[in-house]
């Protein structure tokens, strides 16, 4: 599942950040690295960008960027 598909308010763990470009690097520099836990707070009025919470601060990114982030929902992990 990518970060885009993560239901709002649900906690998840980042599995991988895919791609090897400037944006991937920027995302990782901002602390979105494998293993870190994230939560989607909301999406902007026109559905894009998304606001997420990572390492205790708020980060906005477009869906196209969130699509490169593979996450594993912590909720589903408990359920399964």
């Amino acid at each position: 599942m990518t970060l885009t598909n993560l239901p709002i308010g649900e906690n998840a763990k980042v599995v991988s950040v895919n791609g090897n470009n400037r944006i991937t690097k920027r995302l990782m520099e901002m602390g979105v690295v494998p293993g870190v836990s994230v939560r989607v707070i909301k999406s902007a009025p026109f559905g894009d960008p998304l606001e997420i919470c990572v390492r205790g601060y708020h980060l906005a990114m477009r869906k196209s960027e969130a699509d490169t982030i593979q996450v594993q929902s912590l909720k589903s992990k408990i359920q399964s």
Partner: protein
């Protein structure tokens, strides 16, 4: 007295920098955006700071003098741009690297780095610190926002943090000047610390066993991302050991505010309301000081004219220098107010929310969400709008925004629209109830926006081609703005506007004045004008003298005024500007303009509203008329071309309005674009493409209009 101290210390600092590095140390202040870096910089330097640009780029360079307490030493404190990383992917990061590696000519390599670290956002802030540690410069951490962190029940063990990172950590509270002395002491202590200089980089220093993992990762060379991963793993370890975890699940204060401010529906509504409030305030609040400034410069001109003997020099001083520079300084209140609001929006954290709300709309054109505010500001005036593009990080996106900002119909176009509509479209309605004038003004605003969107779209696909700007942006926690930061930011921007734009504008003012004033037309005087010359002698401003001249020659002061104005009109016709008007007549004839309108067009390249006063001079209406005065409206209606046909038709008026929407007739804007882009070629490109577009659109309007039987 204060200013003396500033210049003295600044001079001392620069002298020290040049001559002996021993006497003064150089300190670089680095930190994430929103970490409290600016507040600390202002607290350390007070007013002993100066703002400039790094050579060749538009990145702001802030430098100040920090008097390290208790010692004779002063330090040059370099405020680096706000950074998340030092990998040189952005211009800011490149500049910061150049400073830290001592690549800049006038700046020695820093002796110490003070890293500003936000305690409430420790992990991400420490990422930059892990990079700073690689520059073989001693680093001292200034830990800010401790009080906020405590409120969030975050307990940070500063000593442990210092031990783990192997660098000093000082808690500071810049607004209350707490911890500043200790910071100074630590900085001096570490400045020449040999062990750090030899101690090498982050990865060497942490050669302990628990970092073997990092080494393994790094063997996979070329993979920068793994390096980032490794750094964050190190940080996570440090964090876990030195910080007691805060309670999760509790939503932050900012998140609560954001439930309203970035709400899908109310968020946009509130954004519109805030922006309306700001522009309304800029217009209404700035009116009074702008009027005062205008009157002040007018009075200064009168005073100079009254006290100096008549002659070219006086004319140059009054009509060229004072009128030209005055015409620009008049914008200062608007600029100060806009920057007041912009810094409040930025400092509170709302600016990021505005970009968040509008990014989807802006990205359709290929622009960043942050481009919205500068574009909106440009409806008031393109100058502060263009200056406000500094918040856009990507140079190409910033350039694209600057290139389209002048298409927004600014307040200076309104007098022109008003004159044209008042003359030709007054009292007419569309569909029986809509005022044609209002519809036309709205259409002009819409035309500007449509063309701007189209140009941005094209630029972003051609000259400024770049991938869609990444929108990975922090939404910083809401905070109360710091009064000192806001005021300093406002005054620094105002001062830069005056200083830099002022020099270019002064030069252009003088050139334009010369064009309209030469050749001197003394030999053209008719006998009646010779009489008027006597009547309008400097002394005639006193009522007694006016009375006596009326008695003597039996003609009223109004007649004398008319003659004087006629003379001015004649002088203009024979001036170089008048000759230029004739010269460009073949070019502007397809737009329906005669040479007189040509003169007004040339003059209006100084500033759009000059069209109104120039037309008044050409049609001998008198300089004091404004866009609503009956005299000018009648004169425009009755004006004849040289062949006797009417000079103006409703179609000509519409064509002129279209031209004014798209042409860059504002030397202040050109000067600011030159400064902000730091490139003459982009500035010249802008002047050319906008003028070409304006010409093409005006040509189309007039020719199609004529084909359809108008005009």
């Amino acid at each position: 007295m204060n200013s003396k101290i500033i210049t003295a210390t600044e001079k001392q600092a620069t002298a020290n920098g040049r001559q002996s590095v021993k006497a003064s140390i150089v300190i670089a202040l680095a930190g994430n955006p929103n970490a409290g870096k600016t507040t600390l910089f202002n607290a350390l330097t007070g007013l002993r700071q100066k703002v400039a640009n790094y050579p060749g780029v538009t990145v702001e360079r802030k430098e100040g003098v920090w008097r390290l307490n208790g010692s004779e030493k002063t330090a040059r404190l370099i405020d680096l741009p706000g950074l998340y990383s030092l990998d040189a992917t952005s211009l800011d990061e490149q500049i910061a690297r150049d400073v830290l590696t001592g690549k800049l000519l006038d700046l020695p390599k820093p002796n110490v780095i003070v890293a500003v670290v936000d305690a409430t956002n420790l992990e991400r802030n420490l990422y930059l610190v892990t990079q700073l540690l690689e520059y073989k410069i001693p680093v001292v951490i200034a830990l800010t926002m401790i009080d906020v962190a405590e409120k969030q029940s975050l307990e940070i063990d500063t000593k442990k943090l210092s031990k783990l990172l192997q660098i000093p950590v000082v808690e500071v509270k810049a607004t209350q000047k707490l911890g500043i002395d200790e910071l100074a002491a630590k900085v001096l202590e570490t400045a020449y610390n040999k062990s750090v200089l030899d101690g090498n980089s982050f990865f060497d220093r942490n050669s302990a066993d628990d970092l073997d993992f990092i080494r393994l990762s790094l063997q996979d060379d070329g993979e920068v991302n793994k390096k980032i991963f490794a750094r964050y793993n190190f940080i996570s370890d440090v964090y876990q050991e030195s910080v007691k975890p805060k309670q999760t699940n509790e939503r932050s204060f900012s998140e609560k505010i954001d439930r309203v401010l970035t709400h899908k529906f109310f968020g946009l509504l509130i954004l519109v309301a805030i922006l309306l409030f700001i522009f309304q305030t800029i217009f209404s609040w700035a009116n009074l000081p702008m009027d005062l400034l205008e009157k002040g410069f007018g009075a200064l001109g009168d005073f100079v004219r009254a006290n100096l003997s008549e002659g070219i020099l006086t004319d140059l001083l009054v009509d060229g220098v004072i009128a030209g520079v005055g015409g620009v300084v008049v914008f200062l209140p608007q600029i100060l107010l806009l920057f007041l609001f912009l810094s409040i929006l930025e400092d509170t954290g709302y600016m990021a929310r505005a970009a968040f709300l509008l990014d989807k709309l802006m990205s359709r054109v290929g622009l960043h969400g942050k481009a919205f505010v500068p574009l909106l500001s440009s409806f008031a005036c393109a100058i502060p709008g263009i200056m406000a593009t500094r918040t856009i990080e990507s140079p190409k996106d910033r350039l694209a925004t600057i290139m389209i900002a002048p298409f927004m119909s600014c307040s200076a176009r309104l007098p022109v629209y008003t004159l044209m509509i008042g003359t030709f479209f007054a009292g007419q309605t569309v569909f029986g109830f809509l005022s044609l004038g209002a519809v036309l003004i709205l259409a002009m605003y819409a035309l500007g926006i449509v063309v701007a969107v189209a140009v941005a779209w094209i630029l972003k696909r051609t000259l400024l081609k770049s991938p869609p700007p990444p929108f990975v942006m922090e939404l910083p926690p809401y905070r109360l703005p710091n009064v000192q930061n806001v005021l300093l930011n406002m005054f620094n921007n105002g001062w830069q506007f005056l200083k830099r734009a002022g020099t270019v504008i002064l030069a252009i003012s003088i050139i334009l004045w010369a064009l309209t004033a030469f050749p001197r037309s003394t030999d053209l005087e008719t006998p009646s004008q010779a009489i008027s010359q006597n009547q309008i002698a400097p002394g005639s401003q006193e009522p007694a003298v006016v009375g006596s001249t009326e008695e003597n020659c039996g003609c009223s002061l109004e007649d004398a005024k008319k003659i004087e104005e006629e003379k001015q009109g004649l002088a203009l016709r024979n001036s170089y500007a008048g000759q230029l008007g004739h010269l460009i007549e073949p070019v502007i004839a397809p737009l329906g303009f005669d040479w007189k309108i040509g003169v007004a067009l040339i003059a209006s390249f100084a500033a759009r509203e000059v069209l109104v006063s120039t037309l008044s001079i050409i049609y001998n209406v008198g300089k004091d008329s404004n866009e609503e005065s009956e005299g000018l409206i009648d004169a425009v209606r009755n004006a004849k071309k040289d062949d006797g046909s009417p000079a103006w038709t409703p179609l000509t008026a519409l064509t002129l309005m279209v031209f004014f929407v798209l042409a860059i007739q504002c030397m202040s804007t050109v000067a600011v674009v030159r400064r902000e882009t730091n490139s003459w070629s982009w500035t010249i490109f802008m002047v050319f493409y906008m003028t070409a577009l304006a010409y093409a659109a005006a040509f189309l309007t007039y020719q199609v209009g004529k084909l359809l039987g108008f005009g």
